[in-house]
């Protein structure tokens, strides 16, 4: 089952470029009863790998502005470190509720205001 969820998660990330990690996280935390912090760390690592492939899929749609890529990359490096450090300190339930709210907000926005 875990391998199937892995494939599904990669598939969703390749198709939609966001939200796929949540499927993985919800399965592992609430169905397999794994520890929230350890699972979210795994999801970040796995999704980052998956995103390398997803970029290849998306690069044919978009002309990247190299200046923006560089600025965003630097910020990403810093905020990645900060986020990982912060995550350890936040209680599991707070993390899980926040991510639930965020996913509903994004889905609602996508549904009503179009886009992909």
């Amino acid at each position: 089952m875990i391998y199937l969820i892995g494939i599904l998660c990669g598939l969703l990330n390749g198709l939609f470029a966001s939200g796929a990690g949540q499927v993985l996280v919800v399965y592992l935390i609430f169905c397999m009863k794994k520890e929230t912090h350890l699972v979210r760390a795994v999801s970040v690592a796995v999704l980052a790998t998956s995103s390398i492939f997803a970029i290849i899929g998306y690069s044919s749609f978009v002309d990247f502005d190299i200046k923006k890529v560089i600025v965003l990359s630097v910020i990403a490096a810093i905020s990645g470190f900060v986020g990982a450090k912060l995550m350890k300190k936040i209680p599991a339930n707070v993390l899980n509720i926040t991510s639930g709210v965020l996913i509903i907000l994004l889905t609602g926005y996508k549904m009503f205001f179009g886009g992909n």
């Binding site: 990669g10 890529v69 179009g114 992909n116």
Partner: protein
Amino acid sequence: MENWILLVVIALFSGTIAGMGIGGGSIFILLTTIFSIFEHKEAQSYNLIMFVIVGIFATISNFKNKNIDKNLLKKLIIPVVLGSIIGIILVKRIDEKILKYIFYGFMLLVGFYEIISSLKNIKKEKLNTERSD
């Protein structure tokens, strides 16, 4: 220039949330499209690039702090890569509209499930601490 400042602020905020593994990518796409910094597909692409880098640095930090389940990671990495490759092949061939609505339904379900389960956990924990008092 204004756009740049906004973009940096959004990137810092969503990058941190992404590093925590609670859906920073979603916020990045949401905010950059709301403030019309990017088109939707553009936002998704930049988000992917950002997330790769956020992921690398967050994972280094998590490994250092032993805050990661290594066994799970080993089990998942190959299936996820496989799924991603299938995903990028499919993304150009599948009818977007149908797929889109399946995805929306799925995501809403996941979100609500997450919130309800967490609230139940909080309630349970409260009961347990009251009992132990």
